[in-house]
């Protein structure tokens, strides 16, 4: 898709096995170009979260391991690196379900994101202001405990916290989960802004195909541990199969009975 030099992250044919028994990813390859927003789409249990966790090396906590393939971040193989080392290198994950530190205030939560920074208080302070500028809602709630804020605000805290580490790349897992459509749009708007203004690359796993493809540059569609379709976001969203199975739009809207097809579109790649 892109030449390897311009790639931020390359995942090359990885296999993931849980519990020594269950093969979950059966050879997944993908590339995130520098400054790209790549959407990883698919149904429940397709392997989106597993892919993200394989990249940021969080599988051990769930008795999983990468058995084959390699993951290259900025030219270095990173399978053996611990999650904290990856953060130092500029690749950070925002986990599904937010995982804010419930007893810390919103501001403290954001400051935890700067844990790996070594460039002084002034720079961190400036970034905090920048964060509040992106999420004005958080500024109003800066002194309240994160556990008492709403779901959307917690998602903002989680993204803001990741930003505080000055990442080059953010792995975003289901940012839209459980949020109102309006908030989802707001969050994707911010993803878009960060990408355009600060050049942060994104790899986002999403169920909400329509929103994700609207904001992404590239898309990959996973199904039961394999990538079945990929391409530019625009091409994908015009693909008939994607429309039928993931966007919920029939081939040409309403049709008259004269033109009704007598067969159903099938997932040909399953054959």
């Amino acid at each position: 898709m892109t030449d390897p030099a311009a790639a931020m992250l390359t995942v090359d044919n990885i296999e993931v096995v849980y519990d020594h028994i269950a093969l979950v990813l059966k050879g997944v390859s993908l590339t995130v170009p520098k400054g790209g927003v790549v959407a990883l789409l698919g149904a429940n249990g397709a392997g989106k979260t597993t892919t993200l966790k394989a990249i940021s090396n969080l599988l051990h906590a769930e008795r999983g391991e990468v058995t084959k393939g390699k993951i290259v971040f900025e030219g270095d193989e990173v399978q053996a690196l611990s999650p904290n080392e990856l953060v130092r290198r500029g690749c950070i994950q925002v986990m599904e379900g937010r995982h804010c530190f419930g007893h810390l205030t919103v501001e403290d939560n954001l400051l935890t994101g700067a844990f790996t920074r070594r460039d002084g208080r002034g720079a961190v302070k400036a970034d905090l202001e920048r964060c509040y500028e992106l999420f004005p809602r958080l500024k109003q709630r800066r002194k309240s405990q994160a556990g008492y804020t709403s779901g959307g605000e917690q998602q903002m805290v989680a993204i803001g916290r990741a930003l505080m580490s000055r990442p080059k790349m953010i792995l975003l897992d289901e940012p839209s989960m459980g949020l109102a459509p309006q908030i989802v749009d707001e969050i994707f708007e911010i993803v878009h802004r960060l990408n355009a203004q600060e050049g942060v690359s994104f790899l986002l796993a999403e169920q909400n195909t329509a929103v994700a493809l609207r904001h992404a540059t590239h898309g990959y569609i996973l199904e039961s541990g394999r990538i079945v379709l990929d391409g530019e976001a625009k091409t994908l969203s015009e693909n008939e199969d994607v429309k039928e199975f993931y966007l919920g739009v029939a081939a040409a809207g309403r049709k008259s009975f004269k033109e009704v097809k007598h067969y159903k579109r099938r997932k040909r790649w399953l054959a």
Binding site: V17, D19, H20, I21, A22, L23
Partner: protein, 358 residues
């Protein structure tokens, strides 16, 4: 390949829910029982029976009891030793008060008393969770310890403060007291432990067991499904203490023959807790593995040098033993943090799909 259920069809719900749904498992359990009933008595000498098999089985029963409470219902308890003590003292009192009734009846009944005590000390569990609950059960441990020492009535005012197993027999064969042979005691212990394992296994595989596991995994969700938390938790405390109590009674009557209050101290509680953790929380077979690991392994290590005719000072053996067992505990928990039972389950899965890796 070696362990595969291909061609074994189940046509009823009961068959599907059986404790051993796979034929290989049934054969395996029959072989194990055969070994325990026929091979071990033929091969083993009195020492192996009296110092490995009998205590191993008694601890297994205690571990099953704690596993029900901690592994299945998720309530941490540090009072197992005291609950075992309650069973032992209850069995002692009843056996001496009603000598005409068979001692097996009293051993099985002694658990009822520890179940009652367990329920009382389980009452705080509705409010108190996790490590804080462990601390309140610690109170049970200290309070009951105090009772065993201070309440003379419990020991029939014996001057030494110890209780002693009375001489009793079954079908004319002495099973408790100094005349009972290790073989006779072994058979009684084996029978009781197998019977009670069967009972426990059926409990945890049914509706009650599911209730406990719901409470363990997420008590709020369990409540939303209509589970009444207090009865569910108290039942877990009762059943768990029952098993611990019977194990305690068996400890005095079939293994030690006599016991002082210090036998039921906090170290006993910890010993059983380690068995449950290393064996595997929430697993019946894990209780067997854990008891074997924590009890039988040190005994084996201790006598291995003698077996090969190597003369080592007993103090040296004792120190080496602690180090070896400690290192093995750490090793096994690193290899498999979820206990030996999980290791066993993974092995079975591997055999199932062999020669493919998954």
């Amino acid at each position: 390949m070696f362990y595969r259920e291909v061609g074994q069809f189940k046509s009823t719900y009961a068959a599907d829910m059986a404790i051993f749904p796979i034929r290989q498992d049934r054969i395996g359990i029959a072989v194990m029982l055969g070994l325990a009933v026929i091979a071990i008595p033929l091969v083993a000498n009195d020492f192996v029976l009296a110092s490995i098999m009998i205590p191993g089985l008694v601890f297994t029963l205690a571990a099953i009891g704690l596993n029900i409470l901690t592994g299945y219902a998720g309530q941490i308890s540090l009072g197992t030793g005291a609950f075992m003590g309650v069973g032992a003292y209850a069995a002692f009192k009843m056996a001496s008060a009603f000598p005409q009734v068979n001692v097996i009846v009293w051993i099985l009944a002694s658990g009822v008393f520890s179940a009652g005590v367990g329920v009382v000390f389980g009452l705080p569990s509705l409010r108190i969770k996790g490590l804080y609950l462990a601390v309140t059960t610690l109170a049970a441990q200290f309070f009951l310890d105090w009772c065993f020492v201070r309440v003379g009535w419990l020991t029939d005012y014996s001057s030494s403060g110890a209780i002693e197993a009375a001489r009793r027999s079954l079908f004319g064969i002495a099973i408790t007291g100094p005349e009972a042979t290790p073989l006779a005691r072994y058979f009684v212990v084996l029978g009781l432990v197998v019977l009670l394992t069967f009972v426990a296994s059926n409990l945890v595989h049914g509706r009650i067991g599911r209730t406990w596991m719901m409470v363990r995994d997420m008590d709020i969700a369990a409540e939303l499904m209509g589970v009444r938390l207090l009865p569910a938790k108290l039942l877990a405390f009762a059943v768990s203490s029952y098993f611990a109590g019977v194990a305690g009674a068996m400890m005095v009557f079939f293994w030690l023959g006599a016991a002082e209050p210090s036998a039921f101290g906090i170290s006993l509680s910890f010993q059983v807790l380690f068995m449950v953790i290393i064996g595997g929380l929430g697993s019946m077979i894990g209780s067997y593995f854990g008891a074997a690991f924590i009890w039988a392994l040190p005994v084996l290590i201790k006598f291995t040098p003698n077996l090969f005719g190597i003369e080592i000072q007993s103090a040296t053996v004792e120190h080496a033993n602690s180090m070896i067992v400690g290192a093995l505990i750490i090793f096994f928990l690193i290899v498999e943090p979820h206990g030996l039972a999980k290791l066993w389950a993974v092995t079975k899965q591997k055999l199932r799909v062999w020669p493919f890796p998954w």
